[in-house]
């Protein structure tokens, strides 16, 4: 293998598994350490810079960082990264003073944002401090998009949402709420320097089964129903409720139903339980609220008696996989199952829809009705029009919308300066030794054995009787510090300097997780199985040195390195050093 080029910022970035997996590349270990030090405002701002909505995301994020977390590979559970973020938000002081200053004089450029969801708000957050005049159009009566209309208050209290939305609107954003944009052409005609479309995926998929028409009064599209609950148009549901679907929307629908009078709420899903789209923790929470999830049930028909819905029938299936792993659901040929219901919520998916974008705008769509958008620049076929969030590439989540908002803002800024959009700014990086003295590092290198701490919940009786009572209470500060200590500080990198090494093997012997091997070099496939413990996790890189005096190389498998620093403590010549690597995605401006 070629010696590893540690000058390439992506090499060490990849070692910080959580940050690498985060779409916005939030410097996770950095803020976790700040929380452990009780510096909540600083921790909050590290988050805010990257992901704009720490309080919201600390409660609702899809947390792609957690399955990636290295801790999950050395013991059962990853660090509770997401809920630690909430701790920073809950315990911070007033952070207004840390917010970027808005120039009193603008830069003369005007940008329209259509949609007030996280992607558009992120664009506003990045461009307003640069002097752009921002006009935000949204058909709702307040900002936040689906974070307001869809994510229920028992998961995301409105005051938390308002606070973080307002940090951005307070940057002098011109808001046009309760304004549905029915023509993109009209907006373009207003002469904006750029238009950002962040209108999300606002249409819920319907289901067409016998009895659907007759039952219409008691069959609701999940996301429409959730929005109507959020905006207080709906406050009741029948005692017996069926929720169709297995994603997070289904979970929010069933849990909301339990708070609006649903006593026997059941989720019925086509796929096996393990393959449901909902996150494991969302399923857990639903089960905890006495909502049975009946998997392998394919809906057949709505049963209506005397003009009123009484229930639905289902066909029981089981999953069969062909040799390519492709799944098909095959009927078990058991008699149809009848499930009683007063109301049915259909939560089987979301779709994009752009009836308001005219052909005259030059914004092109592909065969699936999705806009043609450049993956890197977010520019559409009309050079002035940019897309981000769910509107760009289909429904995802808040953190993805934020990450795309940052990128779109960079593009819009470059576009307004007539610069090349493909010349993206390089990330900001910094690598600093953590050595303080013998056996002394400026980070806490002790690896604790604690298992993941559980977030305490409010009283079930209380939260089930009021949809606005938040279920999770968040970590108290003592538990947060303990949970923070579980983090392995993966950003404190093991940096090897080959010309100092005397090949004494001390690092090999001391490394608790057998990461280091000195051996003859070869191609990667041949090298991986030959290491002290075979490096079978190919998603994790091997760090290979230049050739050493004995003609061997040092090979470190990054996979389960604890970042404990023992290699560096044991090395007589300081060939190993522990160096903190900071990686920040550069923003517009």
């Amino acid at each position: 293998m070629k010696p590893t080029d540690i000058k390439d910022p992506e090499y060490f970035h990849k070692v910080v598994d959580c940050q690498y997996a985060c779409p916005a590349h939030t410097p996770v270990p950095e803020y976790i350490r700040l929380i452990a030090e009780g510096k909540y405002s600083e921790a909050y701002m590290v988050n805010w810079e990257s992901n704009v909505f720490p309080g919201i995301l600390g409660r609702t994020c899809d947390r792609p960082c957690e399955p990636a977390c290295r801790r999950g590979r050395i013991e059962e559970e990853p660090v509770a990264i997401c809920r630690l973020k909430r701790v920073a938000a809950d315990n911070k002081d007033d952070v207004k003073a840390y917010m970027p200053k808005i120039p009193s004089k603008g830069n003369g450029k005007k940008v329209a944002l259509i949609g007030g969801g996280p992607s558009a708000l992120t664009v506003a957050r990045d461009l307003a401090p640069l002097g752009y005049e921002i006009h935000l159009y949204d058909d709702q009566n307040a900002g936040g998009g689906m974070m307001r209309s869809q994510i229920p208050s028992f998961r995301l209290p409105t005051d938390v949402l308002n606070e973080e939305v307002n940090y951005i609107l307070d940057m002098g954003v011109h808001t046009h709420f309760n304004t549905y944009v029915s023509s993109l052409q009209e907006i373009l005609d207003k002469g904006y320097d750029a238009v950002f479309i962040g209108t999300g995926a606002p249409r819920g998929r319907n289901i067409d089964l016998p009895g659907r028409k007759e039952a219409a009064a008691n069959v609701h599209i999940g996301i429409e129903w959730l929005a109507s609950v959020a905006f207080e148009h709906t406050s009741k549901i029948g005692k017996k409720v069926i929720v169709l679907g297995g994603g997070n929307t289904a979970m929010d629908c069933c849990r909301t139903s339990r708070r609006l009078g649903g006593e026997e709420v059941k989720v019925l899903v086509r796929s096996p339980f393990a393959e449901m789209k909902a996150s494991p923790w969302e399923k857990e929470d639903a089960l905890h609220e006495d909502i049975p999830i009946l998997d392998n049930h394919v809906p057949k028909s709505f049963i209506v008696k005397q003009g009123k819905l009484v229930g639905m029938t289902f066909d029981k299936v089981h999953a069969v996989y062909d040799n390519k792993g492709k799944r098909s659901l095959v009927s078990t040929n058991e008699p149809e199952v009848f499930v009683e219901a007063d109301d049915v919520l259909v939560a089987i998916g979301q779709q994009n829809s752009f009836p308001w974008i005219e052909q005259s705008t030059d914004v092109k769509f592909d065969e699936w009705g999705m806009p043609v958008v450049d993956k890197l620049t977010h520019q559409s076929s009309n050079a002035n029009v940019f897309f981000g969030g769910d509107a760009a590439f289909g429904p995802k989540n808040v953190i993805t919308a934020v990450a795309q908002g940052h990128q779109a803002a960079i593009s819009i800024d470059l576009h307004c300066q007539e610069k090349d959009l493909t010349q993206r700014p390089a990330p900001f990086t910094n690598l600093v030794s953590q050595k303080m003295g013998i056996h002394e590092w400026s980070y806490d290198n002790d690896v604790v054995n604690d298992l993941r701490f559980a977030v305490p919940h409010a009283d079930k009786k209380v939260y089930l009787s009021d949809r606005k009572v938040e279920v999770e209470l968040g970590f108290d500060v003592q538990t947060a510090v303990k949970e923070a200590q579980r983090c392995l500080n993966c950003d404190v990198q093991t940096v090897f300097e080959a010309n100092r090494c005397i090949e004494c093997d001390a690092c090999v012997d001391i490394c608790p997780t057998s990461c280091i091997t000195f051996t003859v070099n070869s191609e990667e496939e041949e090298l991986r199985p030959r290491l002290k413990v075979p490096a079978i996790n190919i998603t994790q890189d091997l760090y290979v040195s230049t050739s050493l005096p004995t003609a061997r190389v040092m090979v470190k498998d990054e996979d389960v390195c604890l970042h404990c620093g023992l290699c560096a403590e044991r090395c007589p010549t300081s060939a190993w050093d522990m160096q903190q690597f900071l990686y920040n995605v550069t923003k517009a401006g």
């Binding site: 004494c504 012997d509 403590e569």
Partner: protein
């Protein structure tokens, strides 16, 4: 801030026949200087015992005084241990071995502990063919007392302070051969590929097995001009056939064309394979081993590998026909047969 070894190990650590990972063979975290050759040897001992699948409680590790003699704390934390007086490890090992022949005895000593104060003890353990593996971690100096030249320091070797050693060195491997040791090997702490199989062989050997391991002292004897520094040793190594230990249960597969490898059968049915045995070397010949050792010394080379082995010999127990059971397993009536038996013995001696 800390100097604590984390409890976590690689989740895919392999297990041996007893179901143990190498973690069960580890000891406390070493307090020796970072980069000490002794720590590497500890690592090799852990690896060898793990690979041999010896239950840790079946091993007794014994040592004298010195940095080297401290190492038993840093390996085999689940085994029996005895840290004796300076140079007295052989007599403690002899006593322990006589009392309980069922344990595997591993003696660890230094060049000071063995070649100076303990010399009288060392030679008698060899002479008696005590069933043990005796490892000397040889750094040519008294590490623990700040690096004075030891009796194995080469003539002309320069100390850290710049003084040149005027005395002849004692060649411990040569001495062991001379005194009739039934297994003699030499190795280098920085060569685990050679050292681990040698330790496995030494532990499996019936009778006195001796391994002299050159083990640089990074703090007091790793300077230019020292003949026990990492650089010097690496430049002057003359590795004899790399051994490969083949346990009883596993079929011996020849990895080399016939005639290029030599298998040595040990008393317990295991065997050692010497790869590419040089034509002029016969591992069963004490005389040839002595010659080879002397020849490389003349060339300023350090001959490493298995120098000599006599697979079958009578160890001390067999020679003196002592109890074939550990004393702690014998009943009081056997251990102390009473005054009438004493009277019979006394009568015989009249």
């Amino acid at each position: 801030m800390t100097y604590i070894r984390p409890q976590f190990r690689h989740p895919a650590l392999p297990k041996n026949d007893l179901g143990y990972t190498s973690k069960e063979y580890e000891g406390a975290l070493s307090t020796l200087c970072a980069g000490c050759g002794h720590d590497s040897i500890s690592g090799s001992i852990i690896q060898a015992c793990y690979e041999l699948s010896i239950a840790p409680h079946r091993i007794a590790k014994l040592s004298g005084i010195g940095c080297s003699s401290k190492t038993p704390t840093y390996f085999l934390g689940n085994s029996h241990g005895f840290n004796s007086v300076h140079g007295r490890m052989p007599s403690v090992a002899t006593g322990a071995n006589m009392a309980n022949r069922d344990l595997v005895y591993l003696g660890v000593s230094g060049d000071g502990d063995t070649a100076s104060i303990g010399m009288g003890q060392f030679v008698h353990a060899i002479r008696r063919n005590l069933n043990m593996l005796y490892i000397v971690m040889n750094n040519g100096c008294y590490g623990l007392t700040k690096g004075q030249d030891s009796a194995t320091a080469d003539e002309g070797s320069k100390s850290k302070a710049g003084s040149v050693n005027p005395f002849q060195p004692i060649d411990l491997a040569g001495l062991a051969l001379e005194l009739g040791a039934t297994f003699v090997a030499q190795s280098f702490s920085g060569d685990k590929e050679q050292l681990v199989p040698l330790i496995k062989e030494g532990l499996s050997h019936n009778g006195f097995a001796f391994i002299n391991v050159i083990s640089p002292c990074v703090t007091f004897n790793n300077n230019p001009g020292s003949t026990k520094s990492y650089d010097y040793v690496r430049e002057h190594l003359e590795a004899s056939p790399a051994p490969d230990f083949v346990p009883t249960k596993k079929e011996i597969k020849t990895r080399y064309a016939s005639g290029t490898g030599t298998d040595i059968r040990m008393h317990d049915g295991t065997s050692i394979r010497l790869e590419k045995m040089a034509h002029d070397r016969n591992p069963y010949s004490r005389l040839e081993a002595m010659n080879a050792l002397q020849n490389s010394r003349n060339k300023n080379e350090i001959l490493t590998g298995l120098l000599f082995v006599q697979p079958v010999s009578d160890d001390l127990h067999q020679t003196i026909q002592s109890s074939d059971k550990p004393l702690n397993s014998l009943g009081k009536d056997v251990l102390c047969p009473g005054s009438s038996t004493l009277a019979t013995i006394n009568a015989d001696l009249r």
